[in-house]
Subunit: 463 residues, 2 copies
């Protein structure tokens, strides 16, 4: 066997113990909030049948799906011999001959597949959350990986806007629990966007319109104007659009203006009522929490994968660090239709765990407890001390204290650097004096303080 | 878009909310014990470079590795045109042209790769645990899946047999915490097996010998004799083997017999000392725990992937249900050698989570808490009751009680079956009386009892 210098596929990552405790802290915090609001966890397999995924993410998305080679001697099938490498320029034909499975690209399509396959066992409305990795053959770059976790909650089978209101609360509670102080939960509604396209007389160009105005933050109004002109809008259209997309003021003021602008659009007005209802539910759910109300911002330029959403649309941004959105979601009215189950409405949100990680790191918001594994290391200087330590370590563990014995006699310095590297806050030193007296030396690794205590006192202190 | 009736790739599974809480209960219980003994979690990517995995699992294993197709237009490279489907019968050549990555097959090889890649950041001994899925293109059958979780703990860089002793304690504590009462932790040592092969004069046939005697449980001594004859052993050899592999008595008695039998084998005697040392450490670590000592069984026929292990070998079996092993492991002396890092000794164990799940299910050992998500559902009969319920549900959540409002006015029966299906233990009923008096009806779903209580009393009761 030749020795291969090991490396990782590009765009993938190992997570060290230090990173894992921080990642688990984020996932556990978000999951606890999902559960508190009645969401239950499911998992789906990493691989789906290729036909389950193909055609669900557009042509560009399809190209980014990681396909899995059929196993076994898949060339034995004679029809596969018909493929001619010299002639066929396109790999799609070959792929269809040798691959039937693929890695999931997101959690949403597998969830739709799950709901359809298990519809007879599910009691609707079905509130589920799911935290699993997804894979995309994207070009890797800073902050963009080929394997990353998604962290989704969705409810299907309930048209009530209480769900939208509760998702706003979930975002707020989870991000607050993670220590974030200043963030915007942006909301918009696809029906308002449809209304706007309608009143400027270009309902067919709604996608072009939203793609352009979605960039307002990045390219400014002049940039949006240029793009709208390229996409088939006239200067008159843009004049009508300007006051709408440049709306200023409080959410209430924006809604009042929109009511005037969209007075002639039935769908537009419906979108306004939906937003107002959501705001109303949020108010009733949060009588005292003015911080949350300040965080909610009606943003008419927000679009996010418009083809998909049919009602409210969400996006969350932190104001404490320059970073893209750290969460998003919305309502979709026919997700399971692609698998033959019609008219099942759903609404869901997602947390961007990798970006939240970077934000917490930059703001130094990970609690000390999220860096700590073993609580105490017992030193090991010789065989007598080792034997003396064995019942002690089990006493510590019996008291549910995470404890390690350094597994060989070694120099103090070496054992101390081991404790340091593992972020172990206490070390118990056992030498001749300690064995004679039964009073062990407990060293606090942060302060450097040492105390002589019996094991009961040590357990009381460390618990 | 045509509608595809959804299905799952064979050998893969969805996990429902009910299954997930049970699976998490198992993983959380095991992880808590790993942590208590000083093991820290890592994760590695699902995909590894194909060359990292190839050649590590034998020819049969290599065939079972799921390969991932290169993404993009991978046929553009002219050298790939050289492949001729009509001529080449073997898919291996094609695979090497179109695939560079594969799904991990176990957690051990990726761990070895991790240790070598991160050796400068790691403070040895490195105690890590890892709970992640692996994928194998095995033929699916009852209890065998193409995607399943492995649950491993290993320590590298420490030759101390304290590690072996602690793994026995970890097995015992985790399985006991899961509610198992009667199980055997079997132990053997590769050096004892080498010693046995040596004293019967067939050291080169050690693999054949162990493969045969490993089946003693299944095929009995006659079956083993037949297989040994086929594998090149003589009747004289088998006469020498019989008393060794049929050893009866306590662990101490077996060790005493072995000392006589292996008196002339240096390596065999070394294996005996290792086992005695482990037993000694276990004794010192468990002064009062006689249940554990009874569970440990020296089993000379135990082999498990012998090529791999160099010292102690473990296997765990439950005696309460007919089931294969629910855990196993051992010491290996050169795992990282395949990636160029020599002489790093390691020892590790694994829990068979899927089998443990089946055992707990069959013995009805999942605690009620492992079936419970939402604690209380608030009913919804009309708009007035819904509005009344909103501040109440947030009060419950503020007290950290997982609560749901049924998100639409519906008949009582429908809401009750929703609570039943989700295993929600309490329902709060809000009608006209309740809104007038502020005393809400709390229904205990198991007993059927109803009580009128104010919200503070309800919170006190549910907490």
């Amino acid at each position: 066997m030749s020795i291969t210098k090991p490396s990782l596929p590009k765009g993938t990552r190992d997570f060290s113990p230090q990173e894992m405790v921080k990642r688990n802290y984020i996932f556990d915090t978000i999951k606890a909030v999902f559960k508190k609001y009645g969401y239950a966890e499911i998992q789906t397999p990493s691989m789906e049948n290729l036909q389950t995924l193909t055609g669900k993410y557009g042509d560009e998305g399809d190209k980014l799906i990681f396909k899995i080679l059929n196993s076994g001697e898949f060339l034995n099938d004679p029809k596969k011999k018909s493929f001619d490498f010299a002639q066929d320029e396109n790999s799609n034909k070959l792929v269809s001959l040798i691959s039937e499975k693929a890695l999931r690209y997101d959690l949403t399509v597998p969830f739709a597949r799950y709901v359809v396959m298990h519809q007879s066992e599910i009691s609707f409305p079905f509130k589920r959350f799911q935290v699993q990795p997804v894979w995309r053959a994207d070009r890797p770059q800073k902050g963009r990986y080929r394997e990353f976790y998604q962290c989704d909650a969705d409810v299907v089978g309930s048209p009530s806007l209480i769900n939208e209101a509760e998702f706003i609360l979930i975002y707020h509670e989870a991000l607050k629990n993670l220590g974030l102080k200043d963030f915007d939960i942006k909301i918009n509604n696809r029906k308002i966007l449809s209304g706007i396209a309608e009143i400027i007389g270009k309902p067919a160009l709604i996608v072009d319109m939203t793609v352009a105005i979605d960039k307002l933050d990045k390219i400014g109004f002049d940039g949006v104007t240029k793009e709208l002109l390229e996409r088939g809008f006239s200067n008159t259209d843009i004049e009508k659009l300007e006051p709408v997309i440049m709306l200023k003021g409080s959410n209430t003021e924006k809604l009042e203006s929109l009511k005037t602008v969209l007075a002639s659009s039935e769908i537009g007005l419906k979108g306004i009522v939906e937003i107002e209802t959501v705001f109303d539910y949020v108010s009733k759910l949060t009588t005292e929490n003015s911080q949350l109300k300040a965080a909610i911002e009606l943003d008419i330029t927000l679009a996010r994968g418009l083809n998909y959403y049919t009602g409210c649309i969400f996006e969350v941004k932190t104001n404490e660090v320059a970073m893209g959105s750290i969460g998003g979601g919305g309502r979709y009215d026919d997700l399971t239709g692609m698998f033959g189950l019609k008219d099942l409405t759903g609404v869901g949100i997602s947390f961007g765990a990798d970006r939240i990680y970077d934000v917490l790191e930059e703001l130094n918001l990970f609690p000390a407890s999220a860096a700590q594994g073993t609580k105490v290391l017992i030193s090991n200087f010789d065989e007598a001390a080792e034997m003396y330590a064995l019942p002690i370590i089990q006493e510590l563990r019996a008291a549910n204290i995470s404890a390690e014995l350094y597994p060989a006699a070694a120099k103090l310095k070496k054992q101390m650097s081991y404790a340091d590297a593992k972020n172990i806050p206490y070390v118990i030193l056992i030498g001749g004096d300690e064995m004679n007296s039964g009073l062990l030396t407990l060293k606090d690794m942060e302060s450097g303080d040492q105390q002589k205590l019996d094991i009961a006192a040590i357990i009381a202190k460390l618990k």
